[in-house]
């Protein structure tokens, strides 16, 4: 613990804010710059920073591979599920306008859900890539 003390203290301080920023970017993707891709990478970066500065074992216990794979799959399903839900509500694939009474509102909801799906998938996949390469010696 005594090695790289500055690095460790700073990382510990930064990680909550990185995560918070990730969620901010995630939730503002529908009207401002941001969205699932960026947010997913930022959230994954927080985990990867922890794994690099502290130790990878704890990070892997917090986010086990099986859980990550499940999250990635659920993210893709959420995205595609919204597309199919639009078909059920009488619209076309990814035509979010039909999700609520007002098209603008429906678009808002639709993009938000899609971005959450993208964010889940991207964050999980980035972590999977990092962990599976970091595992090897």
């Amino acid at each position: 613990m005594s090695d790289f003390l500055v690095l460790k203290v700073m990382a510990k301080l930064l990680i909550p804010f990185i995560l918070l920023f990730g969620f901010y970017v995630q939730m503002h993707g529908d009207y401002g710059p941001g969205g699932g891709f960026q947010a997913g990478v930022i959230v994954a970066a927080a985990f990867i920073l922890y794994a690099i500065v502290f130790e990878i074992g704890t990070a892997r216990r917090v986010a086990p591979m099986a859980v990550l794979v499940t999250i990635a799959c659920l993210g893709v399903l959420l995205y595609a599920g919204v597309g199919v839900a639009n078909l059920v509500y009488g619209g076309r694939f990814l035509e979010y306008g039909v999700l609520a009474h007002e098209p603008a509102h429906g678009n808002h909801i639709g993009i938000l859900i899609v971005e959450i799906g993208v964010g889940m998938a991207v964050a999980a996949v980035m972590m999977i890539i990092f962990f599976s390469f970091a595992r090897r010696r």
Binding site: P33, F37, V122, S132, F133
Partner: protein, 123 residues
Amino acid sequence: MDILTHFNYWAAIALATIGLYAVVARHNLIKKLIGLSLFQTAVFLLFITIGKVTGGTAPILDAAYSLYSNPLPHVLILTAIVVSVSTLAVGLALAIAIKRDYGTVEEDEIHDADSAAGTGGEE
């Protein structure tokens, strides 16, 4: 004259050529992947620069501005970057598997190992 007004194309072409050269000339698989990434990134640069409108600002709706850069190339390249990251990940995973199986990531040594194992395999 053309070089100055079209410097973004020259930059993209130079980077793409360097990347492609690395892919062809290097025998180390990791270096090949680096070259491939550089090649792809140069093309992304080409896309991004053609989206720039002189004097335009970021494409966020605001009453104070009326001239925006074209956001479409950015969106396309966001997708292409994801593709490029996936390609790199698959490529590195294959390189690791090759290192495990052959004990090397040098192309000529892999080729020698295959020839030594015999049974065809020309070309």
